[in-house]
């Protein structure tokens, strides 16, 4: 039986880097939410000139490459009633773990940390600039929410949601463009997974930059007569346990797919959830506990089998077991 895409699922031909979608959404929300402020760790130069910085210069702070201080300053702003968004590289900012733990989480702030340049998808800069362990770190912190949108519309929805969310949150965005998977009618629901493709033979659980590849992998598998379900987990914490349990029970096999270490990221989160409620044959697919490296984003996605062909091959291997 072939995969049946829900209305709106599948690629639409539009593609936007989610960090750019973030900036556009924030610039829009800045009009109606004067409490929003942005702290930037020298990312503004590499983002388009229409964003928050240009519209609200007095609420935009260039903090330089001093992420520890940036995080603390954001906490202080939040404790005074501001809604700070911290824009930094995922790899650098997650490294300020103790500042995020103490000044952000343990001080009960509403700081939003936006880690851009997620994963091997950044390409040529190599491992030094890749955020590959950030989800694992952020997920370990009490009260921290972790969100990774899969396209520009989901990013906009997530940012809009984060204006009202209580408590700290981590938003993971990409440097590379992501193909649009959703329609204009898309509504972001915090904590709810999205079934992009229905299927019964196995479930591919994807997030962020790997999600469109997962949808295309389902199309490839359908040609072989394999019916693959695709679930997009945009909220990695708190994760949608009920949807995952349902998928585990109905399809018996799961593959998690992420541009992040398989340890502690989406794969870790799904395993933790299912091991307690619905143990299932599962494969954590992502960066397999190794360093990233330089190369074009496409070459790296091929190497780590994060493109459609790679994801489909990993899914087939699980079916054959």
């Amino acid at each position: 039986m072939g995969a049946t895409a829900r209305p709106g699922a599948g690629t639409t031909g539009t593609s936007v880097a989610t960090r750019d979608a973030f900036d556009e959404a924030l610039a829009r929300l800045g009009e109606t939410h004067p409490e929003i402020v942005v702290l930037d760790a020298e990312l503004a130069e590499s983002t388009p000139g229409t964003g928050f910085a240009q519209r609200f210069p007095s609420r935009f702070f260039r903090m330089g490459r001093a992420e520890a201080n940036l995080i603390g300053v954001a906490a202080g702003l939040s404790l005074m009633g501001k809604l700070p968004f911290c824009c930094a590289r995922a790899g650098s900012v997650a490294g300020r773990f103790d500042q995020i733990k103490m000044s952000v989480c343990y001080s009960a702030t509403d700081v939003r940390i936006v880690g851009s340049h997620a994963g091997v998808g950044i390409g040529e800069d190599g491992y030094a600039r890749m955020g590959l362990e950030d989800v694992a770190l952020m997920r370990a912190l009490p009260t921290m929410a972790v969100i990774q949108p899969a396209d520009d519309l989901e990013t906009a929805g997530a940012v809009e949601y984060l204006v009202t969310h209580r408590g700290p949150a981590y938003l993971r965005t990409t440097r590379q463009k992501l193909e649009r998977l959703n329609t204009d009618r898309y509504r972001f629901e915090f904590g709810k997974g999205v079934t992009l493709v229905d299927g019964k033979d196995l479930t591919i659980v994807a997030s962020g930059g790997t999600t469109s590849g997962a949808v295309q992998a389902a199309e490839l598998l359908a040609k072989d007569g394999v019916s693959a379900r695709v679930i997009n987990i945009h909220t990695i914490k708190p994760i949608d346990v009920d949807l995952l349990v349902k998928a585990a029970r109905e399809t018996k096999r799961l593959v998690t797919v992420e541009d992040h270490q398989v340890t502690g990221g989406l794969g870790g989160a799904v395993c933790e959830a299912l091991a307690e409620r619905a143990p299932v044959r599962l494969r954590r697919h992502g960066i397999p506990d190794v360093f990233g490296e330089s190369g074009s984003p496409a070459a790296l996605f091929r190497k780590f089998k994060l493109d459609a062909t790679g994801i489909a091959s990993v899914a087939r291997a699980l079916l054959d077991r």
């Binding site: 402020v37 007095s58 609420r59 702070f61 903090m63 330089g64 001093a66 520890a68 201080n69 995080i71 603390g72 300053v73 954001a74 906490a75 202080g76 702003l77 939040s78 404790l79 005074m80 009633g81 501001k82 700070p84 103790d98 500042q99 733990k101 103490m102 000044s103 343990y106 001080s107 009960a108």
Partner: protein
Amino acid sequence: MLDDAMLETLRRRAFDLRLDSLNAVAAAESGHPGGTLSAIDLLQALYFVEMKHRPKEPHWPERDRFVLSKGHAAPALYSVLAHAGYFSTDLLPSLRRLGSPLQGHPVNFLLPGVEASTGSPGQGLSVAVGMALAAKLDGSAARIYTLIGDGESQQGQIWEAALCAPKYALDNLCVILDHHDARKPLAERWRAFDFDVRTIDGHDYQQIAGAFDAARAAQGKPALIVAETVEGKGVSFMENQRASDGVAPNKEQLAQAIAELRAAQPEPA
């Protein structure tokens, strides 16, 4: 200038604050008495002379804020907050006990009057910078104070914050350095970072109040007060004993400490 009656009140309360802090640390059988006693006079001056705040209305939006960056001086902060009326002094002996809001290091969502959770060295100054930035954005007259220690002055984050605060001309920010390690002359470094710096005796209330006045008058620059203090101030066997900080006094030591503090009390007028 503080008048004689005020000075007398502060000196007497300083005795109570030291007593309550030491009792709490002794009851908890753990804590940092040295760094606590060094900070008590500075904290009392902040909460009883300098800051605008309302203990019965801890979330009053116009209040001045204080962040205890050197969070291990928590017993000093707790004693001062209790004596100021934020909560009952009866809570003080519960320091570090299971279920107590008086955690080993301050936690803002557990105790009224605590503005930020601290205790990991070097973080409070950045939080205070953020608060000062927010007050500037809002055109608020609130002033922001933070107490940092010698030890955490080794943290890189302190110097990231030191670069940041002058850039935004945060003259509503007053940083107090509880300085008792003579091996670390820090005043010139802060001046080089473009802070408005003055050095005082951190146990002399007249000098402390004078430094706060001068900091408030400084325009366009954040202020830094190097408060020369004595670790373990008031207790002979704790003074300048780096090794004893982090060790709670036992019963005999506590009795001796209290006797010494009492003997140093001014005669009743």
